[in-house]
């Protein structure tokens, strides 16, 4: 019993760090979280998603076809905790803690239990892992499932019992049904391990065949969904080929040859070469130390001000850990390298790189290598423990301060703050107006209105239309009930008589307008101004 105490304490720490203040930090529920929540609510009540599709594999949502796994997982949570922000974020918190447990089990199998404990501790406080455990991020659930699947797969490689393999495959499958990137990562990881450990699979060919059969069977719904719906369009919206940059560059370089059609210029400068280079660049971007340790992602929703995805000093330990792994290579810990190399592939297939969200599963092999490096240092001289604890205590408190205090003030619009108050207000005065016009400046306002007003999904399902796709292949809903969502520049809405106008502050002139209510961001700047015409 005694040997389990450290890991139990680590799990407690992980839970506290993940659940503390979860409803108000990050401040505001973002549109994707609201969509997952509302679709789960809709499924729970009607068995259909918001757009009326019965028991979907992918949620059409904003035309981005989110894998529906998270929404299904949410249903019992909404039943128990009600249809609230807390319930929506709780599964991610729980899977975050499970991820910490998972990395302990995995590292224990790969290396040893001491390193496993260290890995669990480091993952529990990791900025990257904490960020995506706080908030309804499907990627977090999906990554934890990959960790657990990998753990059981390694157990099977060491001790081929059928149930290890089958449960492992089940975890991988649920992961595929939960997040887009996993649809690339999981097959690649599986293929890599199949090649590395071909012998094991051949010796236990009966078990291998059985699990392959199970996989094919359980992947059928996904294949059907990809064939019959528009779900594959997601990749054409954010995929590498949606970026015309490489085509333009090939053209530019050909023009510089003077002769567009000459054979050498065609051979050297063409789309395959340029897109190939772009893919490689996207992939390599994820191994940029500046991205990992200093500045993190550029997308405000995925980053904390002045913070990397790892602690600054982690890069010292990753070097030591990598050196140790190179010098003491064993067959089983090649899995760490395999995972590290595969992790950014899905992200590299899209055109906003490096991408902390889509490449999130990188955190696992990275933390394992960091903990390995740190373990070597601690083993070398016990005195270093004091130093490391001091440095990390400082960095962790610095990070928590940045996350909970500076983040909402410096990037107030990163999370869609203000809608809760806004919806409560508009719902309370709704009866006085025939029409309520709401700005669409903040992403997908309709879903937040549905969420916060707990609008009956039965009333919504048949009575709305999705707009045409924009250039990123996103759609939105412009009208439901009394609400109309559109940008609200003053010259357009000033003649809307007897309507309630919810506008972004820059759309409303400072003087001569009857602003009846203003809703502020956490930093005190206005988010919404409400005008009654």
């Amino acid at each position: 019993m005694k040997k389990y105490i450290p890991i139990l304490l680590i799990l407690c720490l992980a839970t506290v760090l993940r659940i503390w203040n979860i409803t108000s930090s990050p401040s505001g529920l973002n549109a994707d979280e609201a969509a997952l929540g509302y679709n789960a609510y809709s499924l729970m009540l009607t068995g259909r998603d918001e757009h009326g599709h019965p028991w979907p594999v992918n949620l059409e949502s904003f035309g981005d076809f989110k894998p529906a796994g998270y929404a299904y997982i949410l249903i019992p949570f909404i039943k128990v905790f009600g249809f609230t922000e807390f319930a929506v974020r709780l599964p991610s918190v729980i899977f975050g803690v499970l991820g910490v447990l998972g990395i302990y089990l995995l590292t224990k199998e790969l290396i040893n239990w001491q390193t496993g404990q260290l890995a669990a501790l480091l993952l529990a406080v990791s900025p990257w892992h904490l960020h995506f455990s706080r908030g309804a991020w499907e990627v977090n659930v999906s990554t934890t499932l990959i960790v657990l699947g990998m753990w059981l797969l390694i157990k099977w490689l060491k001790d081929p019992k059928l149930h290890y393999l089958l449960i492992s495959n089940l975890y991988f499958l649920i992961s595929i049904y939960t997040y887009q990137s996993s649809r690339v990562i999981v097959p690649l990881l599986g293929l890599g391990i199949f090649i590395l450990f071909f012998k094991n699979f051949r010796v236990n060919y009966k078990q291998s065949l059985l699990s392959a059969l199970l996989l094919v069977l359980l992947l059928l719904p996904l294949s059907l969904s990809l064939i019959t719906t528009d779900a594959k369009s997601r990749l054409s919206g954010v995929g590498l080929l949606a970026d015309s940059g490489p085509t333009e560059r090939a053209k530019e370089l050909r023009i510089q040859h003077g002769d567009l059609k000459s054979i050498p210029s065609k051979l050297l400068h063409n789309r395959p070469v340029q897109y190939g280079l772009r893919f490689i660049q996207n992939y390599l971007d994820h191994f940029d130390g500046n991205f990992l340790f200093v500045n993190g992602d550029v997308i405000e929703r995925s980053k904390v001000p002045e913070m990397g995805l790892f602690y600054l000093t982690d890069f010292i330990f990753i070097i030591i850990g990598a050196m140790y792994l190179i010098r003491n290579s064993s067959f089983i810990n090649r899995i760490i390298w395999l995972w590290l190399l595969v992790a950014p592939v899905a992200s590299a297939m899209t055109f906003q790189t490096p991408h902390a969200l889509r490449a999130f599963n990188m955190v696992i092999p990275m933390i394992i290598i960091i903990s390995l490096g740190m373990y070597q240092v601690i083993k070398y001289k016990k005195l270093f423990v004091v130093l490391i604890v001091a440095i990390y205590a400082f960095q962790i408190s610095d990070y928590l301060y940045k996350y909970h205090v500076r983040y909402p003030k410096e990037y107030p619009a990163a999370w869609e703050y203000g809608f809760k108050e806004l919806v409560a207000y508009t719902e309370s005065v709704k009866d006085k107006y025939p029409k309520i016009w709401v700005t669409d400046k903040y992403d997908q306002p309709y879903i937040l209105f549905l969420f916060y007003s707990k609008y009956d999904p039965r009333k919504f399902q048949g009575n709305h239309t999705l707009s045409f796709r924009d250039k990123f292949n996103f759609s939105t809903v412009r009208d439901y009930d009394k609400y109309h969502f559109e940008s609200a520049p003053w010259d357009k809405v000033r003649n809307q008589h007897s309507a309630l106008i919810v506008a972004a502050p820059e759309d409303i002139p400072e003087l001569g307008v009857d602003v009846i209510k203003t809703i502020n961001f956490p930093n005190g700047l206005p988010a919404f101004k409400i005008v009654s015409n």
């Binding site: 050297l268 280079l277 390599l284 971007d285 191994f287 940029d288 500046n290 600054l312 010098r327």
Partner: protein
């Protein structure tokens, strides 16, 4: 050495030489003001034994107030004597020593893969094709390391000492590298006494000059700027190890330091370098420790400076990386050569055909053509108003007109910069170097104007005594300079 080995080495060296000499005068297109200053000061030394300020045989040249260590200029004296004062002669010392570096690396590694990769390396080629003091320092440093390992400590000390006379960045890197060598190879202390004395003696002239340069150091140090210092330095350090820097785009913060769309190594070398690194880490011998130490220390001068990343200050990284790549290639051998060949073709195409379209502006391309256009008219006019928007126009005038150094030394009007940064020259003979102010100057007579299309707007080219002497365009077709005269 076996005959066949020698033949291959000669072939590799010739390949390297061709890649460094081919179109040396015009690729990179244009000429930086530092290059012009190195060339003209060499010319000045050749004719008078003094620099542009009339100082006799200086160790450190004041130049634009940036106090250039002078060895490059001394190397350029013979090439200017043989080939005249032109771009080719100014760049030649760098190209020659860049080629000789291939042989030094052969002697260091005793295999042919690293020299081959160095011969075709984009980073090495680029800095050998311009008058870069850092490239000379790289050669001297590598040679000094070779001599140290061969236990020729006195010669080693001499060449290490010369790096201080060559390049500012060496002042930090050379001592660090010497320290690394001493720790790893632990030579007999008695044998070091004379070399140490020699090294210290070589520092004396530099120490005497130090007071005048401290302002410059302040401008370029990261410590002079606000922000979180630890994060700032870490960021700079990691930038130099990023795949983007090494394999995709080179130094992205300064166009002069690389060519667009290509890294400092050929992309396939990412595999060979990683393999080499793995092999070195497993070997863990003296050579491995030296190379890894060298790599990690070579980034420091750059990480502590103002720029976010710098291809010139971190140039010493090239040697350990190319050796690692060579070790990796020796495992993959011919299997890998098609990928490298293809990369080389892409690189050569980008370098010789495409780079002018992207780099002409930063490489100050318009000066030469503008000066050539006005040359025949000079005798007919009293004054030339030449814009200083592009920076340091005076040195180009001296360089391209081959102005007699005796004449210039006697009327040097250089103005120092109060903040320690570079200064400027306001005028020389008929030339006035300032922004063209067409509204007040359009009534002048017997004056030539050189300015861009904002200083000399097309719609205002209407005084009756105006003569249009020419226009200068960038290779991309954009307008660069307009040259007009008022009779």
């Amino acid at each position: 050495m076996k005959m066949s080995r020698l033949i291959i080495l000669v072939f590799i060296t010739i390949l390297g030489l061709i890649l460094r000499l081919f179109y040396l005068d015009s690729r990179p297109v244009g000429f930086t003001w530092d290059e012009a200053a190195l060339g003209y000061n060499a010319y000045s030394l050749l004719k008078t034994g003094k620099d542009e300020y009339g100082k006799v045989l200086p160790v450190v040249f004041k130049s634009f107030g940036d106090y250039k260590p002078g060895l490059y200029i001394y190397f350029t004296v013979p090439t200017v004597k043989f080939f005249g004062l032109n771009e080719f002669a100014t760049r030649l010392p760098s190209a020659i020593l860049g080629t000789l570096l291939i042989l030094v690396v052969y002697l260091l590694t005793k295999n042919l893969y690293a020299p081959l990769l160095l011969a075709i390396n984009p980073w090495a080629i680029h800095f050998s094709r311009g008058a870069w003091e850092a490239n000379i320092a790289l050669f001297l440093t590598t040679l000094a390391v070779l001599l140290f390992i061969k236990r020729r400590y006195l010669y080693s000390s001499l060449f290490f000492g010369l790096t201080f006379w060559t390049y500012q960045g060496a002042k930090m890197f050379t001592p660090l590298l010497i320290l690394t060598l001493l720790i790893i190879y632990r030579p007999n202390i008695k044998k070091l006494i004379l070399p140490v004395l020699l090294g210290l003696a070589m520092l004396i002239p530099l120490i005497l000059n130090f007071g005048s340069q401290s302002g410059r150091l302040k401008v370029f140090s990261v410590f002079s700027y606000s922000g979180d210092l630890v994060r700032g330095i870490t960021q700079r350090y990691l930038n130099h190890l990023s795949p983007k820097y090494l394999f995709m785009s080179g130094d992205w913060s300064n166009i002069r330091h690389s060519i667009p769309y290509y890294g400092y190594f050929h992309l396939p070398e990412i595999i060979t370098i990683l393999m080499g690194m793995i092999i070195l880490l497993r070997a863990n011998n003296q050579a491995a420790k030296l190379l890894i130490g060298w790599l990690l220390l070579a980034i420091l001068p750059s990480a502590l400076s103002r720029d976010i990343v710098s291809g010139v200050r971190s140039l010493p990284m090239l040697i350990p990386l190319v050796i690692m790549s060579g070790i990796g290639l020796s495992k993959l051998k011919f299997f890998y050569s098609p990928a490298l060949l293809l990369s080389l073709i892409l690189f050569v195409d980008l370098y010789f055909i495409h780079s002018p379209f992207f780099t002409a502006k930063d490489m100050l391309y318009p000066y030469k053509e503008a000066l050539q256009i006005i040359e025949p008219y000079l005798k007919d006019y009293n004054r030339v108003i030449f814009t200083d928007k592009l920076g340091q126009p005076y040195i180009y005038t001296l360089f391209y007109y081959k102005i007699d150094p005796i004449l210039y030394q006697s009327q040097n009007k250089f103005v120092d910069n109060a903040n320690g940064d570079v200064g400027y020259v306001p005028s020389f003979e008929k030339f006035v170097f300032q922004k063209v102010d067409w509204r007040t100057q359009r009534g002048d007579s017997l004056t030539i104007f050189v300015g861009d299309s904002f200083e000399l707007p097309e719609q205002d080219m209407n005084p009756v005594n105006l003569v249009r002497l020419g226009e200068v365009y960038y290779p991309s077709g954009l307008h660069a300079l307009r040259i007009v005269a008022l009779k």
